[in-house]
Amino acid sequence: MKITLNGEPHTVEENTSIAGLLGELNIPLAKVAVERNLAIVPRSTFDTMILTPDDRIEIVRFIGGG
């Protein structure tokens, strides 16, 4: 199914969790924050929150800034 990941189209299997998506992308869970359809996804729900079609997912991390 299709989702939007960081502004780009992305395809994932049905029943993929947030943790599953991060694992697939090799992104370390502890170092990022995730937003789903403009709402924060609490880290404690990464395993249980299942993606649905057309979800807009943002995965962000800290970078250098002033």
Binding site: G7, H10, A33, V60, R61, F62, G65, G66
Partner: protein
């Protein structure tokens, strides 16, 4: 003689220097500059992970958020809604509620949009954030931001990244005199004497990024800034001599041979 610590939103800091983490050659140089500066707080930005390259270096691997306070900023946000969205993500990523609000306007001067800054500050405070706010050097707005409940007032010394030094010392001093929360000059510092000058005016701290990151030797400049902030603070606490119009000999004239 011990100085009081800098207290921001109930947290105590012995260093009065806050440094940015942008524009360095790499994160390793950034970490070395941080160590040389003695700063206990760094500003950081939130951006999308590059999903095509998840192995790219991570700031948290070079500057440990358990040892150094991360102060997430809202750089790139032009509305209160953008700022709240960005900082909610930062809070989830790091668990921090102490944040730097900056709502900018025109890229040419990067002056804060004060109307939107006020609105965003209120939204963030209502959402439980402790807001250190980048603002114009206008004492009227500074007062309004303090009345809203901001944790620190951070007027610009000069445009962000310009290195021009304090352009309006009168306003900075007026803001210092009227504020009961920390006043931290944010932006405009170019070299050590600029930081000292801000501290001599009675500011509680100085925040800088480009002055260190774009120095020829950022680590050495970081160390210079550490001393500059301490020197300015000590001079402020010591209380400077009165200025006089004419010379006044330091050696007594009595008893001359």
């Amino acid at each position: 003689m011990q100085d009081k610590p800098l207290v921001i939103a109930g947290r105590e800091f012995s260093s009065r220097l806050i440094i940015g983490t942008g524009k360095y050659k790499d994160y390793a140089q950034n970490a070395a500059a941080l160590a040389a500066s003695g700063a206990q707080i760094v500003t950081v930005a939130m951006r999308r992970v590059n999903v095509m390259n998840p192995d790219e270096p991570m700031l948290v691997d070079f500057i440990n958020p358990k040892e150094t306070v991360y102060l997430p900023n809202t750089a790139g946000c032009f509305t209160g809604e953008d700022a709240v969205r960005t900082l909610r993500l930062a809070r989830e990523a790091g668990g921090w509620s102490l944040v730097k609000l900056e709502v900018l306007s025109d890229p040419k001067h990067l002056y804060p949009d004060m109307e939107e800054t006020m609105r965003a500050a209120k939204m963030l405070i209502d959402d439980g954030f402790e807001v250190m706010v980048y603002c114009s050097d206008d004492p009227v707005f500074a007062r309004k931001l303090e009345d809203l409940g901001c944790a620190a007032i951070m007027p610009l010394g000069a445009p962000i990244g310009s290195g021009l030094g304090l352009q309006n010392k009168v306003n900075i001093r007026l803001i210092v005199e009227q504020s009961s929360v920390p006043v931290i000059v944010d932006a405009g510092v170019g070299t050590a004497s600029d930081a000292t000058e801000a501290m001599e005016l009675g500011c509680d701290g100085v925040l800088m990024n480009t002055a260190i990151a774009e120095a020829n030797d950022p680590v050495r400049m970081a160390r210079a800034m550490k001393h500059a902030v301490i020197a300015g603070r000590e001079a402020y606490l010591a209380g400077r001599m009165a200025k006089k119009r004419y010379a006044d000999p330091s050696s007594p004239l009595a008893g001359l041979i």
